[in-house]
């Protein structure tokens, strides 16, 4: 049973205290929408949960265990997508996706990668160097990654940015599938997302 829990997290960016004493729990099949104005600490919160940024105080637990205790184990379960897309301009969409999956130790196979890029709407462009893709198309490489990576915990920062309507619908469908499989998701977003079992976390500036 997957469950993500934050216990009285306090985080800051430089001198500015962004959130204090923040606690929440997200169980299998649920997702938490992190909302709030710009600069309210959504990204910092996500980075704390992913283990990139150390919180000033408080703990993050994944399946009842501190994420700092067994990093490799936690990271094997975690898919993190920040607002930087980690896509290499010199590699094609196919190579970028294969490389991202290989880094996570996911053995998808060329056939599955092709199919996932097709599902994400990049079928004709999968061989092009990523420098020749538009912002939305680069985002779609990220969608293809969501299709293939079996990680049970998603931590996504503004995943809908630059996506068109069809792309946003595809994302909502992928999220619903992830939740139906017992996955957990933590998503910072401004848009309304049509997916079940949502819980909201409001951050104040």
């Amino acid at each position: 049973m997957n469950v993500l829990e934050a216990r009285s997290l306090t985080g800051s960016r430089g001198e500015a205290r962004l959130f204090r004493d923040l606690s929440f729990g997200v169980a299998a099949g649920e997702w938490l929408a992190v909302r709030g104005p710009n600069g309210s600490g959504k990204t910092t919160l996500l980075r704390c949960v992913a283990g990139l940024t150390r919180p000033d105080a408080g703990d993050v637990l994944w399946n009842g265990e501190l994420i700092t205790r067994d990093r490799a184990h936690f990271h094997a379960d975690l898919l993190y997508a920040g607002h930087l897309d980690a896509i290499k301009d010199d590699l094609s969409a196919e190579e970028n996706l294969a490389s991202a999956l290989a880094l996570r130790g996911v053995d998808a196979g060329a056939e599955a990668i092709r199919a996932a890029l097709g599902e994400a709407g990049l079928d004709k462009r999968r061989q092009l160097p990523a420098r020749r893709l538009s912002a939305g198309q680069r985002r779609r490489i990220g969608l293809a990654r969501l299709i293939l990576d079996p990680a049970p915990l998603w931590t996504l920062d503004e995943p809908l940015t630059a996506l068109d309507d069809a792309g946003q619908r595809l994302f909502a469908a992928l999220l619903a599938r992830h939740l139906a499989r017992g996955g957990v998701a933590l998503i910072a977003t401004h848009q309304a997302l049509d997916a079940p079992a949502v819980r909201e976390l409001r951050m104040d500036a």
């Binding site: 283990g51 990139l52 990271h75 094997a76 993190y80 607002h83 010199d90 991202a100 499989r181």
Partner: protein, 238 residues
């Protein structure tokens, strides 16, 4: 895929040193291959500068033979330094470094893989080319061999030291200047023993002590510096 996949996700994705190293090494070589300009620039810089010296100081055979190893080493050092800033900066800027840090592999694995790839695209071609450049300085065959061997052992140390310095300057403004101030002094011991090996050989002494010290330096650097790089990368990402 079923719900069962999620429950056993961690068991599916096991991190290991070998896998992380191989991933980073292969990826960085692929990117370097797609973008050969950078590697060629390093090699061209090395060849050009090392070829300018004989033109500048005149064709006096004895002088050239004496300064040859030292000049070639300084050129190699500056050429290797030239490609250092790119080692982590672009991965830091586009978010790849975050993804690597969040992979199940130990951080030291992909850090070492990246450093090895940096060496393969900077130090290695320089060491291979060095005997050709040595010919311009009238070095004899044995000295040329020792020169190449010393570069082969010494340039990985330069990549390791350089990587630690680049990682420290990640995200700092004016990082390039800071990197030069930080890295070049640290290269000095490598320069002394590296150039010393060929000079000893040229003057009829054994090059072995110099090469042994270089080798010892390489082992110590390879064991310790990746850990320092990891700490610096963690700070840069925080």
């Amino acid at each position: 895929m079923s719900a069962a996949t999620h429950e056993s996700g961690a068991a599916l994705l096991a991190g290991s040193f070998g896998a992380g190293f191989a991933w980073a090494f292969a990826r960085d070589l692929t990117i370097a291959w797609r973008h050969p300009g950078e590697t060629l620039l390093v090699v061209a810089f090395f060849v050009l500068v090392a070829s300018l010296f004989p033109l500048g100081v005149g064709a006096e055979a004895q002088l050239l033979e004496r300064i040859g190893p030292g000049v070639i080493w300084v050129c190699a050092l500056l050429a290797a330094f030239l490609s250092l800033p790119a080692l982590f900066a672009s991965d830091h800027a586009d978010g790849s470094l975050e993804q690597m840090a969040l992979s199940p592999h130990p951080m030291a694995s992909w850090v070492s893989g990246k450093i090895a790839a940096h060496w393969a695209t900077s130090g290695l071609p320089l060491a291979v080319l060095s005997p050709l450049l040595g010919l311009q300085y009238g070095l004899d065959a044995d000295t040329l061999a020792v020169l190449a061997l010393a570069l082969l052992i010494g340039t990985p140390v330069l990549s390791l030291l350089g990587a630690a310095c680049t990682a420290l300057t990640l995200g700092a403004r004016g990082g390039g200047m800071l990197l030069a101030l930080l890295a070049l002094p640290l290269f000095v011991p490598v320069l002394i023993f590296g150039a010393g090996a060929a000079q000893a050989q040229a003057s009829g002494l054994s090059a072995l002590p110099h090469l042994s010290l270089l080798g010892a330096g390489l082992i110590v650097a390879a064991m310790s510096l990746p850990i320092a790089v990891c700490a610096a990368v963690r700070v840069a990402l925080d």
